[in-house]
């Protein structure tokens, strides 16, 4: 794998832990038109099957793009050894050309440009050379050992009104190249990937969140290879980080909640009731005296007279 930016940077790609020389790396003069990257590789160990994808990061485009052999943006690109020129369109009208006889030559060269980029734009590129050989369906053996990142840190979250998101960065230093793979960083809420591992390089992953982020975040680093199954290594140990100062909380309210069910249904059992019926004109109830309740005290209860106005022959 190799990557670089501008005309000054690039490291040899790696295939199964064997370095491949980059003979030269050229970028065109921006004034001449669309940005062009030309990378010439030495021949050692590089076969078409190992040269499986090219990923561009044109400036002005937020998303990562792969140029598919069908000319469309896709997840990956597979280049087969046809021996003929191949041209792959890039979004915006550019092209990706392999010169005639490319695969048969001792020079590996790739020309890639993005016509959509402005003349002064910078185009990041990543060339994936490991993982899968279409001529040999078996997967490459790569070192999937994940070296723990060092000096991880989170920045203070800042609200970006244009994105309408809270933004904060995770940074760490990579220890080992993790050959032929990418590093994926994820936590419980945000998923990120695509950090190309370079030794001793300081990395940043930008995270965005609709709401002010929680104080504490758990990160896991994965190590994965490009392959038909996109095999992913076991995750690293949880990395628990705490954000810097948090946005002020003006009202922090916990719902009172609460709902009570039931209550008491009181049932009176008269232990020794007797009634004293005294008819009083106009009174619609009578009184029962419970001479001994459970506590041994007398109690009085009013009870309804079934028909208080019934006529009798004795009044």
């Amino acid at each position: 794998m190799t990557n670089g930016q501008g005309s000054r940077y690039g490291i040899p790609p790696q295939v199964a832990n064997d370095a491949i020389d980059i003979l030269s790396l050229y970028w065109t003069n921006r004034d001449l038109g669309p940005e062009i990257a030309t990378i010439f590789f030495g021949a050692s160990g590089l076969t078409p099957g190992q040269f499986v994808s090219i990923q561009l990061f044109p400036s002005g485009k937020a998303r990562q793009e792969f140029i598919g052999p069908d000319g469309n943006i896709s997840d990956t690109i597979n280049i087969v050894n046809s021996g003929d020129d191949k041209t792959y369109d890039i979004a915006g009208g550019g092209s990706f050309t392999l010169p005639e006889g490319f695969w048969a030559s001792q020079i590996r060269s790739v020309l890639a440009y993005d016509a959509g980029a402005s003349p002064n734009a910078t185009c990041w590129f990543v060339i994936q050379t490991g993982g899968f050989d279409p001529h040999n369906p078996g997967e490459f053996t790569v070192d999937a050992t994940l070296d723990p990142p060092t000096d991880p840190a989170l920045t203070e979250p800042v609200y970006d009104p244009e994105l309408d998101q809270w933004v904060f960065d995770l940074s760490w230093t990579n220890q080992e190249p993790e050959l032929g793979t990418l590093i994926e960083v994820q936590n419980s809420q945000i998923y990120q990937e695509g950090s190309v591992p370079i030794p001793d390089e300081l990395y940043h992953e930008r995270f965005t969140n609709e709401d002010p982020p929680d104080l504490e975040w758990i990160f896991r680093f994965y190590h994965y290879v490009y392959s038909p199954t996109r095999r992913i290594s076991p995750p690293s140990d949880d990395l628990i980080l705490t954000l810097g100062p948090t946005p002020p909380i003006d009202i922090n309210h916990v719902m009172s909640g609460g709902l009570s069910i039931g209550g008491s249904a009181t049932i009176f059992l008269l232990t020794d009731p007797s009634g004293i019926y005294k008819l009083v004109p106009g009174k619609t109830h009578d009184t029962i005296i419970n001479r001994a309740n459970e506590a041994g005290d007398a109690e009085e209860f009013d009870v309804k007279i079934p028909e208080p106005f019934a006529e009798t022959g004795y009044l």
């Binding site: 009104p161 309408d164 809270w166 709401d211 009202i251 719902m255 009172s256 009570s260 039931g262």
Partner: protein, 133 residues
């Protein structure tokens, strides 16, 4: 003897109460929740970046205990500016998918009326319990 509802049953009751799509909203009118209220009793906040929050049943964590408690991850209302008139916030109310008022609560009197500005944050942690038994 007092009616007793076992913890296992309280959990079932909570699941029954919360098993619908609820929406947590903030209200802007100076309202003290009352028994006869309906959703129309509350004026929902608009503007200033305000967005109501959906409380799906799957998000509740219901603990079988005494009291049994249902909790939900806190909900942040972050504001990008002043809300629409009257530019105040007094509390929250919760409605179901049919717009029927489920419950409401006024924020602490020391906090209201709250007049948000850009960067203001109101955090409401949903909680519901069955206690008292």
């Amino acid at each position: 003897m007092t009616l007793l509802v076992p913890s296992v049953s309280k959990k079932v009751y909570l699941e029954g109460i919360l098993n619908e799509v609820l929406t947590l909203k903030l209200y802007s009118n100076n309202k003290i929740p009352a028994v006869g209220d309906t959703a129309a009793s509350y004026t929902e906040v608009t503007g200033g970046g305000y967005i109501s929050k959906s409380l799906g049943f799957e998000g509740w964590t219901i603990t079988e205990a005494s009291p049994s408690v249902a909790t939900y991850a806190f909900q942040n209302f972050s504001f990008t500016g002043v809300t629409d008139a009257p530019s105040t916030i007094y509390g929250y109310f919760v409605v179901n998918a049919s717009g029927v008022l489920r419950w409401a609560e006024r924020f602490e009197e020391s906090s209201v009326p709250f007049e948000p500005i850009a960067g203001s944050l109101i955090r409401v942690t949903p909680r519901f319990d069955l206690g008292g038994l």
